[in-house]
């Protein structure tokens, strides 16, 4: 347990065990935490993310051999992928970050020790690489929100505003700042040594007061992932579905020769039997709930990820729906909630209009946020059209 996690534990923060660590689940309330992510800035502890450094002259070649996605990637840039294991299952989702002397991997869905063991099991005797579990020495923080760039500029360097999405840099030898996030808002990940993480956390909280910053736990982060349709390996990723069914084909390259290319090829050759689809209902949606088709009792799908919608009325979710029913914009389907039927609308995620789309770091500041014209946060066009 790193010093920050110990603080959370000792101060009674609600924790959830995920991928071998106890992660803060909720600090205040999910609603307040999501409001901060969507409207100002939120700070999160991300120690459920496995961090691995692979150094040495063969580092990039080693990753390329086991990675299902082509890694045409410049130094200090990062790419998202999903690692596939020898059984053809999803091992974890990942950012592959090309550093000057090797690679950094940020993965979700796997314990850091298990991931390092998996990597070592595919290391060849002549591979000139060293693999380090960074979770043993470093912690990861996340700063998300439409004004997170302003806080990060205050804390680190004004130049950080120009850091492109999916890139990273080292402000000092043992600190790394990644421009990445999965909330749909401006986001940064900050990797710092364990012995400084508690101080960093406190400094961010202190500086963040000017931005009405809140602490955000795992539940708020995963809610925002759902609103923005970021792949969640703990939810929809837990289904044994193909990349086409999960709509994550862009994370893999079918034509790439890598260690488990035959497993990926086998998945590709399966006919598209079902597809993950955004859904909305005025009534409660629950994971595992069946989706019924056109006026009969036929089950055409299952809800795999769902939450009460915080940016509008009703519930939003993702359903794995059979083909040819898995199409957006259809309002013929139903769910059965508490013994009574309720209509289910298939919709196109993201479910929100992210504030970050309308905030320009070259022009705006949190202090003049009231001068920015934002559309409604709710991004479901059908609901907006029907609004009074």
């Amino acid at each position: 347990m790193n010093p920050l996690d110990r603080t959370f534990h000792d101060s009674g923060v609600a924790l959830e065990h995920i991928d071998g660590v106890a992660a803060p689940a909720v600090f205040d309330s999910v609603e307040a935490e999501v409001a901060a992510i969507r409207g100002s800035v939120a700070l999160s502890a991300m120690n459920h993310v496995s961090m691995t450094a692979i150094d040495g002259e063969d580092a990039l070649g080693f990753i390329d051999r086991i990675c299902p996605r082509f890694l045409h990637i410049n130094p200090n840039r990062m790419k998202q992928t999903v690692f596939i294991n020898e059984k053809g299952d999803y091992l974890c989702d990942a950012y592959v970050c090309r550093d000057k002397d090797g690679c950094l991997l940020l993965c979700r869905g796997i314990e850091s020790d298990a991931f390092v063991s998996w990597l070592l099991s595919h290391k060849r005797p002549l591979d000139n690489i060293t693999i380090r579990n960074l979770n043993q020495t470093h912690s990861l923080l996340a700063v998300n929100g439409p004004f997170s760039w302003e806080l990060m500029a205050d804390m680190h360097d004004p130049e950080i505003i120009g850091l492109p999405y999916l890139s990273f840099y080292h402000p000092s030898e043992d600190v790394t700042v990644f421009r990445a996030g999965e909330t749909g808002e401006y986001g940064y990940l900050v990797c710092v040594p364990h012995d400084r993480v508690a101080d960093n956390w406190e400094q961010l909280l202190a500086e963040g007061k000017r931005y009405d910053m809140a602490r955000a736990g795992l539940h708020a982060l995963e809610y925002c992932m759902l609103e923005n349709n970021f792949f969640n390996i703990r939810k929809e990723g837990a289904c044994r579905n193909t990349p086409a069914e999960l709509q994550i084909q862009w994370r893999v390259s079918y034509h790439k020769a890598f260690l488990f290319a035959d497993r990926l090829k086998a998945m590709r050759e399966k006919p598209l039997a079902r597809r993950i689809t955004g859904v909305y209902s005025e009534r409660t949606l629950v994971e595992g709930m069946p989706v019924f088709g056109e006026g009969d009792a036929r089950v055409i799908g299952t809800i795999v990820n769902a939450r009460r919608f915080l940016s509008g009325p009703g519930h939003i979710g993702l359903a794995m729906i059979d083909m040819p029913y898995a199409v957006s914009g259809i309002d013929f389907y139903r769910v059965n909630e508490g013994g009574s039927e309720a209509p289910l609308l298939t919709v196109s995620p993201p479910f929100v209009n992210n504030r970050s789309l309308y905030v320009d770091p070259q022009v705006h500041a949190y202090g003049d946020r009231n001068s920015i014209v934002f559309p409604p946060v709710c991004g479901i066009r059908r609901l907006l059209r029907n609004a009074p």
Partner: protein, 97 residues
């Protein structure tokens, strides 16, 4: 599909037709080295996913308006061109479907 009620079947077919045409526009106008089946309708078009840029967006907007005979700019917002499906929503809204 054969046993599906007619109005729903037509709605699904119209939507799939829009998506098919959209994928062709993207592949042909941007010279994407992808099979249409490899483009997921809810995958991000910018940043991640297809990793397109703002110049691509302008080219696509013009091509989509020409191909479908609709004016999207009056009903589009900054979030409208995020995925194939969000563009399909716009097209179907512009066509009052």
């Amino acid at each position: 599909m054969d046993t599906m009620r007619t109005d729903m079947k037509e709605r699904i077919e119209r939507r799939e037709d829009v998506l098919r045409r959209l994928k062709d526009i993207f592949i042909n106008n941007l010279n994407l080295n992808l099979h249409p089946d490899e483009i997921d309708p809810d995958a991000a078009l910018f940043g991640t996913g297809l990793e397109l840029d703002s110049i691509d967006a302008v080219e696509i907007a013009i091509a989509v308006e020409a191909a479908f005979g609709v004016k999207l700019r009056s009903i589009a917002s900054k979030g409208s061109f995020r995925t194939m499906n969000t563009i399909a929503d716009l097209i179907m809204e512009a066509r009052k479907e």
